[in-house]
Amino acid sequence: MNIKIELFGAARDFSKQNILELNVENNSSLRDIRAKMIEYIKKNFSNNENYIKIINSSAFSSKENIIISDNYKITNNEKIAIIPPIGGG
């Protein structure tokens, strides 16, 4: 199935677009999505350690703007957002 990850903050550097689209196994959880994103970074950014660190320390939110846990099951074509470590104001 396909999922879309809206990129914010430092994660915007993962793609020239604002959204990263990934193909994942049906019934994937957020934990699986993190792993898939790390795989994507290893392949496209020669194992960039900073990017991998960002993925591991990020929260994610659902399309209803609720922070989701690693057990959250993603559905086909769902759009979630990556929330890297914050520091605004």
Binding site: G9, S57, S58, N65, I67, P85, I86, G87, G88, G89
Partner: protein
């Protein structure tokens, strides 16, 4: 009374007068207007501007939660709160955030103003990319999101 907005710097700049107008009322005897601006250096680097990135819906949601908590946790019931935050590129000296509060007495106004900015720093999905004079730029590291329900 509460108002919170994210303003795109290409469309509208943050203006202190908007805040003054919103919190102005004879119900309140104390008001504080806090503003954050872009400064010219950070971590020994010369900064020429900052790009602010925001998850608008989550930022507004966090501002709303912080406002409601002020009633429940701080027991400050009578108040006016105005929060504007910029997104997009800002030059040196431009305002990135305005937090204006008005309360009956000064003690609660100081507590409320400080509470709001500290909670925003911890909880609102806002990111800063600094632009330096050597034409490099960097996203600031930040802290993992602290969520009320965690």
């Amino acid at each position: 009374m509460f108002q919170a907005r994210i303003l795109d710097s290409k469309i509208r700049k943050l203006i202190i007068k908007d805040a003054e107008k919103f919190i102005s009322s004879s119900d309140f005897g104390a008001s504080i207007i806090f503003s954050g601006t872009v400064r010219n250096s950070n971590n020994n680097k010369l900064v020429k501007g900052i790009t602010y990135d925001t998850h608008d819906a989550l930022v507004i949601k966090s501002f709303d939660e912080i406002y409601k908590e002020a009633s429940e946790k701080l027991k400050i019931l009578n108040k006016a709160v105005f929060i504007d935050h910029a997104k997009g590129f800002l030059d040196l000296g431009e305002i990135s955030i305005i937090i204006a509060v008005a309360c009956k007495h000064r003690d609660e106004a100081y507590i409320l103003s400080r509470y709001i900015i500290e909670e925003i720093k911890k909880r609102s999905p806002i990111w800063k990319k600094e632009h330096y004079h050597n034409d490099e730029s960097d996203w600031l590291k930040g802290n993992p999101l602290v969520h009320e329900n965690n």
